[in-house]
């Protein structure tokens, strides 16, 4: 009989208790994939509690399952902190209260994924919330359940111009086409992409330029992943021949500008997509590109070459001011062998591609010997054409270069320094 009385009491008191605590649960259909962000965005989850009975304490019991019932997570009630429900007071709770990560216990693969990524696997989930008594864990409110879908968005990946690409200076004067991948998976509402282009100033690296400079382009694009930019910039080669050090020489391929570009993505509320990156600002991984000489390389016409120093006695030191003495003798071919005087008369051109190092290791091979292109690029003067075993160049202050190498002089191989006086030219060279 006593047992029946208890059951009867529960049957009556239970609904009465539920009736005294009214609850409502609102969950965004597509909340952020990163669960930590649920706590910073109140619109993700709202749980409204109205207690019309006596003041009491309660625990929030939250369970997350897949729609097929597979358990994902549940509140560890022994670690949960009770909330106080005052009589007649409406209490509004958010995700940080309803499912604090420190008291949620995730299971199986969901736990592993969460620990690795901070996200749950993409899919459709159900969240159920109920208030329970802190002592006996009996329910004190109805359970409210809502369905939501998780799709971990990934920010756009830049496509064109590719990272460290070299754009043709002449074409870039008219238009530069930017392409990127869309935010994936595609959200229900249109995404606004802001295309940003920054100039990389001298002594800056790409990321530094992006964090420092005012953008040359800030253009919002909706509904497509391409933008054609008319730069309206006077692209002119930055480098001039009479540079001051070897580093300038290495940049000689007529760079007209260095730029870094990126895309910043916004949702339909103009809020940056923060789900896909560390900074939460919706900025994709930036790419840099160079506007330069893809069409024509600023190279040089050799006006004159002459030996300035030579180690005639083989003691390791160069004897100075040798050009006057040796100019008429120094006629060698590319292998350092003596060349017949009449051969140089047959050289028809007066240009020379000075070996260059590239700013772009992906486009040009480091150390690639462009002197191969010089085999017919002779010398217009009647002095010499020593270009053999060139080891390195240093800019001279008078607008030329000094190369070091070996030459055959008077039938003997000696170390020499050769001065080239050159003039900038626009000549197509092998890429």
């Amino acid at each position: 009989m006593k047992k029946y009385l208890i059951i009867l009491t529960l049957l009556i008191a239970g609904p009465m208790a539920f009736a005294q605590v009214n609850v409502n649960l609102v969950v965004s259909n597509n909340p952020p994939g990163t669960l930590i962000e649920w706590g910073t965005k109140k619109e993700v989850l709202t749980y409204v509690v109205v207690n019309q009975g006596q003041p009491r304490q309660a625990l929030i019991k939250t369970t997350i399952t897949l729609t097929d019932g597979t358990p994902v997570a549940a509140t560890n009630l022994s670690a949960a902190r009770p909330i106080t429900l005052e009589r007649g007071v409406t209490t509004i709770l958010y995700a940080i209260d309803v499912m604090p990560l420190q008291t949620m216990v995730f299971v199986g693969k969901f736990k592993n994924t969460l620990e690795k990524t901070g996200k749950l696997p993409a899919g459709t989930y159900q969240i159920c919330v109920q208030l329970v008594n802190p002592v006996d864990l009996l329910p004190v409110s109805e359970q409210r359940c809502r369905i939501f879908s998780l799709a971990a968005f990934q920010l756009p990946i830049l496509v064109l111009p590719a990272d460290e690409d070299v754009l043709d200076m002449i074409m870039a004067k008219t238009a530069i086409t930017f392409r990127w991948t869309p935010v994936t998976p595609r959200p229900g509402l249109p995404v606004k992409y802001r295309v940003l282009v920054f100039e990389i100033l001298e002594n800056q690296n790409p990321l530094q330029a992006m964090r420092s400079n005012k953008p040359l382009l800030s253009k919002d694009v909706i509904g497509t992943t391409q933008y054609i930019w008319q730069p309206q910039l006077a692209f002119m080669p930055l480098q001039v021949l009479d540079g001051n050090d070897e580093s300038q020489f290495q940049n000689l391929p007529a760079i007209a500008g260095r730029f870094v570009w990126t895309v910043q993505s916004f949702d339909n509320n103009d809020v940056p997509f923060g789900d896909g990156n560390i900074n939460g600002d919706g900025i994709s991984e930036p790419y840099s590109f160079v506007v330069g000489d893809k069409q024509f390389t600023l190279t040089h016409r050799l006006l004159e070459s002459s030996v300035v120093d030579a180690d005639l006695d083989g003691d390791g030191n160069f004897e100075t001011n040798m050009s006057k003495e040796l100019a008429h003798q120094l006629i060698v071919d590319n292998k350092g062998e003596p060349e017949e005087p009449q051969m140089k008369a047959g050289v028809s051109t007066s240009r020379s591609n000075i070996p260059r190092a590239s700013h772009d290791k992906n486009k040009f091979q480091e150390g690639q010997d462009t002197t191969n292109n010089q085999q017919k690029a002779g010398v217009s003067t009647s002095r010499s054409n020593i270009r053999t075993h060139i080891n390195g160049f240093n800019l001279n202050s008078d607008g030329g270069y000094t190369g070091t190498g070996d030459a055959v002089i008077n039938g003997r191989v000696v170390a020499v320094k050769i001065r080239y006086r050159v003039k900038p030219l626009a000549i197509k060279v092998m890429k």
Partner: protein, 578 residues
């Protein structure tokens, strides 16, 4: 107050010019006791923008109105073993755009913010033999997965005793900045301190093995107010990187890394997530993931080939690369070869990138392939062919259709050169066709975006004169459903020396015609001039003036709106040393 320790240094600096002159007289056979190289300079840039009619702001300023930039980067060499390079680059006016510094207005930044502002660098790296002290702003690249592109202001060292490597650096990568409603608004940022450490062994051209530790941690008490979405973070990454050079140009390289990253330091510690004490203690917002990359290949004079694979886990985050895109797998095959007595050069690559690797249902695939084929047939003719293909596909998810974007780009570029005793002519023609298809995920309809580009260039090179002109005409047409854009550009440039080759003059004039759909065309004229004057052997003065006038047709309101944009940049540069 000047400390005793700084007096010798100041004395040294004061005496440097005299030493610099003295060393000129030294013979080349003896190492100079002191030498100096490098440059110092200052550049002023003025930007002007006039818009018509009054009240129209359809075009906004692209540069700061006035800016002064300084560069002081001499390298002092004391004897054979000790060098003292400076790298000071800074600007007077902060114009930061991305990141929390964007809220700083001119004159409002504190000294600490000025010094650590990414637009300024103040670095000194004294080096004695194999030991280098790193002071001030440093952009240190330890490896691809640990730290590389973030600037840190602090102190550290770089030691290379024999084949060993020891590196350490610590400092600030970010000052604390309060939330500011603007304009311009900034969300604010916590002060972030970074540490990085590397130990390893390497032999140039043979092998290297290095172990890296990188850490970044925000200072919770460094700001008074901050936007609610900005959370204090703490990250720790460790990696092992190795490279081996084998015989015959073969090489193998690889790096494996693990990151532990706390996204919100205000949340409590969590013992259920493994920590890595004393470097980092896990909280409920801590994630731990892996990344790896590897490559094998061969380099030679005429032939290169290489395979690269890179995996970044979905939760991999390192303080050293704040914009690194996670959750991806890339693999590429690159090759280059020369043939036909080096007159033919081919560069090609093919690869695939898989995004959202962690989500099997939303995995997106991106295919990239390109080839560039250059052939020099003879002294007169050469031809460059290029083809690029890019494809991106992702499942539809909640949408009826998946994402599918495909682009194909073809380029053909022959050029012809001929010459006589006085002039060398060069004519180049270039044609590019680009097709970019985007599928609408709701309707499944594919939008084709087609672009045709044609370019004709003529460059006469006068062998007996100093004038170097060039001429080009370009046609650009982009069309897609209900949209058509036509651009025509005519440009010419001229360069010549003056003042007995002490001055270099360059000028350029460019006209752009643009027309969208049936709207009246827009007109644009750009004129620019560059003067480089070598005043003395060591002192040069460069000036750049540019003017850009753009007049709209009737595609925007008000009709015939126009603007005049002008840039004047002038700067002096002094070269140290010989």
């Amino acid at each position: 107050m000047i400390s005793r320790a700084t007096i010798p240094l100041l004395t040294l600096i004061l005496l440097l010019p005299g030493w610099g002159r003295a060393q000129d007289t030294m013979t080349k056979k003896k190492p100079a006791p002191f030498s100096i190289s490098g440059v110092a300079g200052v550049t002023y840039e003025h930007y002007g923008l006039n818009r018509e009619p009054d009240g129209w702001y359809g075009f906004t300023a692209r540069k700061p109105w006035n800016q002064v930039r300084f560069n002081f980067s001499p390298t002092m060499q004391f004897g054979k073993d000790f060098s003292l390079p400076f790298n000071f680059n800074f600007a007077l006016k902060p114009v930061n755009y991305a990141g929390p510094y964007s809220g700083i207005q001119s004159g409002k930044q504190s000294f600490g913010q000025f010094v650590t502002n990414p637009m300024n660098s103040f670095g000194i790296n004294p080096k004695y033999k194999w030991a280098e002290l790193q002071l001030g702003t440093q952009y240190l690249n330890y490896s691809d997965l640990s730290t590389g592109d973030i600037g840190v202001f602090g102190v550290g060292f770089d030691l290379h005793p024999k084949e060993y490597v020891f590196k350490f650096f610590t400092g600030l990568s970010q000052q604390g900045i309060n939330f500011f409603t603007g304009p311009p608004a900034t969300t604010g940022a916590y002060k972030r301190k970074n540490w990085m450490f590397q130990v390893g062994k390497e032999r140039e051209g043979s092998y290297e093995v290095k172990f890296n530790l990188v850490k970044g941690k925000d200072d919770l008490g460094s700001v008074d107010t901050i936007f609610p979405t900005i959370k204090p973070q703490e990250g720790f990454t460790m990696s092992v990187v190795s490279k081996v050079f084998l015989g015959g140009g073969w090489y193998v390289q690889g790096e494996g890394a693990q990151s532990i990253y706390t996204k919100d330091m205000t949340l409590p510690f969590d013992t259920s997530v493994a920590s890595f004490k004393p470097f980092i203690e896990s909280r409920t917002s801590t994630v731990r993931d892996y990344a790896a990359e590897g490559g094998v290949g061969r380099r030679s004079k005429d032939y290169d080939i290489g395979v690269k694979v890179k995996y970044i886990g979905a939760g991999f985050q390192t303080p050293g690369y704040p914009f690194m895109l996670p959750d991806r797998l890339d693999y590429t095959l690159n090759t280059r070869f020369n043939a036909w007595k080096n007159k033919m050069n081919v560069v090609a690559s093919i690869g695939q990138r898989v995004n959202n690797v962690s989500n099997t249902t939303l995995k997106a695939k991106q295919f990239i392939g390109n080839i560039n084929w250059f052939t020099q047939f003879n002294d007169h003719w050469n031809l460059n062919l290029s083809f690029n293909n890019f494809g991106f596909q992702a499942p539809g998810g909640i949408n009826p259709y998946g994402i599918k974007n495909v682009s194909n780009d073809l380029g053909i570029n022959p050029s012809f050169t001929w010459s006589n005793d006085k002039v060398m002519h060069l004519i180049s023609v270039s044609y590019n066709y680009s097709k970019y298809d985007e599928r609408d995920v709701l309707t499944g309809l594919v939008t084709s975006n087609n672009t045709h580009t044609a370019l004709l260039t003529y460059v006469p090179t006068f062998l007996t004169k100093d004038v170097s002109p060039d001429f080009s005409v370009m046609y650009f047409n982009n069309s897609m459903s209900l949209f058509k854009l036509t651009l025509i550009t005519i440009s010419s440039g001229l360069s010549m020396p003056a003042m007995k080759n002490k001055m270099n003059l360059r000028g350029q004039l460019q006209y752009n015609y643009s027309k969208t759909n049936s709207f009246k065309n827009n007109n644009n004229i750009i004129a620019s001039c560059n003067v480089d004057w070598k005043v003395t052997k060591k002192f040069s003065w460069s000036t750049f003036v540019s003017s850009n006038r753009f007049k709209y047709g009737n595609e925007i309101t008000p009709n015939n709106a126009n603007y005049l944009e002008s840039i004047i940049r002038t700067g002096f540069q002094y070269r140290f040393g010989k």
